[in-house]
Assembly symmetry: C2
């Protein structure tokens, strides 16, 4: 009766990890219901109300009993929420030393006895901390943990934890694979889609505190009065959940909507225009966060159009934002009109000399790797290279290069690989996460950005497991030292099941999934060999495009000798941008980890790999291993039938089937294409592709989603 069940209690994925279904274990339910039978909220604020309501909602769903929300403590089994300011009870608990370590967003969550009554306290300096503590408590309940002797305190390690939406005003989403934009600009500001609040709830539950609403390939219309009213309406929905809104600033806006003849950042009229515009924004959104800016990159206008530097451009906006405590996140993903010999070098070349030239309220936003969100890249050389400048890291949660929304790829290991990379900027232990959390160079202003994978699909992310990447980004933004497995464990328990077999199986699939994807797409350090424009599927044969660095052959450099991009001193020299210790590791064929071999070296097809195979053989084996591993994922998933609700079981089963087909597409395309250079047989034991290379080269995907609109 699949049909019946799916409609009656359809697990449509809308609830994300905030599923508050009745706990099956009756003992646990009783324990929770008795420990948490009332909520005390002495003074209300929008944020505290949101926290109390969420807790009430969760308890009602999980235990079947709706706790009272009281203004006074009346019995045992109460949760007291608040700050010393809002709660006389909390003020009476002598928490000042504890709270002094927690900052504006941290919280403590502990069991105690108040006036002889067993209670649980969620205390913080500010309301936002209380909200985060509340979601922490809910997470404990959702994952069946005891709430008997709580004693925890947590503070986010990074200040600005932000989703970047590459959403256009026509609701298309650049690199969006989960439907279209959540923001229904046409119906805003008067119609508030219930999703806006649920979006905010989901973000608050994982500590995300900012949202850049619009695409970095920006449209100046967003800065006009009708759109600012719409932005304000969203900000009003998000505010009780501790989330600030940010926008993208199109650098040429003073010309396009301001009627000026220039956007030169040093022009007094331009400065005045931005000052007034930004003052106006704050009349609509008093706590507006600031701007994310993509300038002089991929055709976007910027300060270089006027022979000014990126610092001139960023400082123009920063000066106007500073009186309102707004910030600028100026993206380092740039390339100019001249095609460089190695695009990997460009951001460093342009930004490194500007270190120290940015205002205090500017962060330079650097992608995790030097090219563009590939399945695997080394960390970006700018990390550690600009000690005088706050650097915020940009990850891509949406799977532009990782199978869109049809591939199960758990991205926490990818995020962690970069965060844990050692820049050696100040000697051993100068990890990227220490650059990002400000501890390496003692910055107060810190940030992390994730390009969202969220759209208006019923399940938000297109793929049920893509939700895990949103979740993981938030959890790592709060604490980059959390490990991938812990996060997966939490998410699986909250989202799918707490049954040990299910948790174990899903965790093993999730943790292996990124490496599997690297293998069937871009093993051994290959990169940027995907389909043209839409970036869907393989396209190692892409060449002869308007720019060489938009082609695949530019990056893989396959020839009869071998394959790979020589970035050592003998090649592009990109490796010189890293600290000497890093250079040392990557500079020789022997010391370079095989997973990045072809990123840094042009290697002979006959090179002997650690496995004893030649490079050609190893490449083939990796591709085949990747595709075979998807079969393994399918096997593990299929064994869970009956233990997963039928809706999501069928959905993921279908998606894994697509993933396997596409893994074969990648494998066959790449092996056949590279074979034209190696001239070697596919190794024994590997079934050769059943179609010729020409078949794969001819495949067309005219309406693959997520393409940049042509305005």
């Amino acid at each position: 009766m699949l049909l019946a069940s799916s409609l009656a209690k359809a697990e449509d994925g809308y609830r994300l990890w905030l599923r508050y279904d009745l706990i099956e274990n009756a003992n646990l339910r009783t324990e929770y219901a008795s420990a948490l039978n009332a909520i005390v909220l002495e003074r209300e604020s929008d944020v505290l109300k949101a926290a109390a309501y969420e807790l009430s909602l969760a308890l009602n769903g999980l235990t079947g009993i709706t706790p009272k929300i009281n203004k006074f403590l009346s019995g045992a089994g109460t949760v007291v929420l608040g700050t010393p300011e809002s709660s006389p009870i909390i003020a009476s608990l002598n928490l000042s030393e504890k709270l002094s370590q927690l900052g504006a967003e941290g919280y403590c969550l502990f069991s105690t006895t108040i006036k002889g009554k067993k209670s649980i306290v969620i205390a913080a300096n500010k309301d936002a901390g209380v909200l985060y503590g509340t979601f922490h408590l809910i997470r404990l309940l959702q994952t069946s943990q005891s709430v008997k002797n709580l004693s925890q305190q947590h503070t986010p390690k990074i200040q600005h934890r932000i989703l970047n939406h590459w959403d256009n005003l026509d609701r298309t989403v650049e690199r969006g694979y989960a439907g279209f934009s959540l923001w229904d600009w046409h119906k805003l500001p008067d119609y508030i889609d219930p999703r806006y609040r649920d979006y905010a709830r989901a973000n608050a539950s994982i500590g995300i505190n900012g949202s850049v609403l619009t695409n970095v390939n920006s449209n100046a219309q967003i800065l006009t009065e009708p759109y600012l009213r719409k932005v304000a309406a969203l900000a009003n929905v998000f505010r009780p959940y501790g989330i600030k809104v940010y926008l993208t600033a199109r650098f040429s806006a003073p010309v396009e909507i301001g009627g000026l003849s220039t956007a030169d950042p040093l022009d007094p009229a331009v400065k005045e225009w931005w000052k007034k515009k930004i003052d106006e924004i704050y009349t609509y959104v008093p706590d507006f966060g600031g701007f994310a800016v993509k300038a002089n990159s991929e055709g976007q206008p910027g300060p270089q159009n006027y022979n000014r530097t990126h610092a001139d451009g960023a400082n123009l906006l920063a000066d106007a934002l500073a009186p309102h405590n707004g910030i600028v996140m100026w993206r380092a993903f740039v390339y100019d009109n001249k095609v460089p010999e190695d695009r990997a070098k460009q951001a460093y070349n342009e930004f490194k000399p500007l270190d120290g030239k940015f205002r205090e309220n500017v962060m330079v936003q650097v992608k995790n790797g030097p090219i563009d969100f590939q399945p695997r890249e080394p960390f970006h050389p700018l990390f550690g290279a600009m000690p005088q400048t706050p650097i915020n890291i940009e990850f891509q949660i949406t799977q532009e290069y990782l199978g869109f929304a049809t591939h199960l790829v758990y991205l926490a290991p990818l995020f962690k690989e970069c965060l844990n990379a050692d820049t050696y900027a100040k000697g051993k232990g100068s990890f990227v996460y220490k650059v990002v959390d400000g501890s390496l160079d003692n910055h107060q202003l810190t940030g992390i950005a994730g390009v969202a994978n969220i759209g208006n699909d019923r399940n938000w992310c297109g793929h049920p497991f893509a939700q895990a990447n949103w979740f993981a980004f938030g959890r790592l933004a709060w604490d980059p030292t959390l490990n991938s497995e812990t996060i997966a464990d939490e998410w699986i328990r909250m989202t799918f099941s707490q049954e040990p077999e299910v948790v174990k199986s899903l965790k093993s699939v999730m943790l292996a999934s990124r490496e599997i994807t690297v293998n069937y797409m871009t093993p051994l350090g290959l990169h940027h060999i995907m389909g043209w424009d839409h970036h869907y599927g393989p396209g190692p044969w892409i060449k002869d495009k308007p720019r060489a660095d938009w082609t695949s052959v530019y990056y893989h450099k396959a020839d009869s000798f071998g394959i790979g991009f020589d970035r050592t001193k003998n090649g592009s020299g990109a490796l010189d941008q890293y600290a000497p210790e890093v250079q040392k590791q990557y500079s020789t064929l022997e010391s370079c980890p095989e997973e990045l071999l072809l990123w840094f070296h042009h290697v002979s097809w006959d090179h002997k790999m650690n496995s004893g195979r030649t490079l050609w053989e190893e490449l083939c084996h990796r591709y085949y291993q990747g595709a075979d591993s998807v079969k393994w994922m399918q096997k593990l998933w299929n064994a869970l039938e009956g233990k997963i609700d039928p809706d999501r079981f069928v959905q993921v089963k279908s998606l894994l089937n697509i993933q396997h087909n596409e893994a074969l597409l990648w494998r066959n395309s790449c092996v056949l294409y590279f074979q034209t250079f190696s001239g070697k047989e596919i190794p024994a034991g590997l079934d050769p592709p059943d179609k010729p290379l020409s078949y794969y080269e001819k495949l067309q995907f005219p309406f693959a989603p997520g393409i940049r609109p042509k305005w």
Copy 2:
């Protein structure tokens, strides 16, 4: 606790009118549970299984008890489903006379005693009829009707009841205001979104039996092999619900995807290409319905590009479809490159001479009115004018000219106004619906098309009340003689509430809503004065565009003397296209109903109207009355707080607020603009607009949804 309730049991609108919540009246619940405690399905088919499962789902939700689905009759209180072929029980009931009147899709639904056991029988000649009968029974349960002495039989009056989706392959929807296309082409055919089945269920529940998946402004890619596989996947989901898929055929496809140098319909290679292509389609979709075609209209290619007629074009496709029992719906909405003196005349001029020239499996698809889905139009002069040709009517369910998805406008009265119009083609009583149902000219091939208002919004249609228009279209397609009030009553009870006060209030709002909208948009026969391109909001000032008949001034012809389009013999003569009796009614100022006065006449500002007011005064009064009436709608709605679930209550309240603001926008824009011609004061008692005309003229809506994509 709005927040809590909205997430726990959110009325998100996804279930449409198929809401199977527990019936509150315990007596009724017991009656139903006892009368319907088991389902007998003797032999299975996909359609019969769908029927049985749906009934089981409904009974489970409504009564709390899941009925067994048995192969044998075992006790009283059983529903027996089937055809004489599939059910020995039904074969034994001597229904052949009854069934002989029911055709392929009709059904009978009756109470009886079988082997001494009280039973309910749903019998039909074909499985589809059983499915429709099942949904009929469910509707009875949802609307609290007795199932004690059932004795009904129903047959659809129109053969092809079809939704037309103007959905593009990139998932944008032309004139779509409910998000984006349901069809996720990228993930098809391997991923089957659960919505596809729910879409089919909703359609089957109201008798819709066909779906044109793609935009009439078509892309030939849909006819290529990868897309046909995707189409087949959708067809497979729809088939158990009695729904055939249709596509749009781009006339130039033989050139664009076939490699031919011409698409001339008389060219043997072109004929051969279509024959092969259509044979190919049937290998993927054995019950493929056929094509809807827009040719030689608004820049679309067509037979006239080769100096052939529309009949030549339609017959080309019809001949290739005929062996497979496929049909062609050839749209009469055409206009050529020369701007006509009156576009209202063009379809008639081009098609009337072709009567009798079309193959037997061609219908000419005619919009309800001669211009384009305006808030009010007279019926199209082609109805009754082509007796030798099956004419299927095309309505627009999506509210392109009726406030997008933010205005509550119940369209059944608009549909009925046209269906009940008397063409006098064969004397008095030659109603449009008799043309459409084939009875007037004795056609077997009949059809009705509705341009869908469905998108991927969580609630499918954007506005909760827009769902009523989908519902009403289906119900009227099944039986065009049903009245608007009955349909509204059913829908309200199934969708919102059965409480008498709620039903009464909502019904009065719904039934008045279309006339209210006419008043604040286009009273007295005005038409086509909306905003340029996006068609959002008022634009009576639109002029100087590439074609005169794309402007507003072409249609309203306001000048210092008066306003309106003279379509009498003194003017464009469009009225001559109607039967003499119709001409007589519309040809004089005295006999022409005021609601169409300015459609047919250019009338002096000082003309005395029935109200005793001058035309100018009446026009102003209508605009003000329209806007004021939205306030009345708001008042009625707001009085229902607490009687409507909080989610939808707040949603509709917000939407009515938008509707009121936009009604004021229409009113103020039009009154101020037409005042520049009349030179008269706004009548006493009506508050003049608070902003000047220039304010309204300058408003820009750069990202209004639903615009045709520029490929």
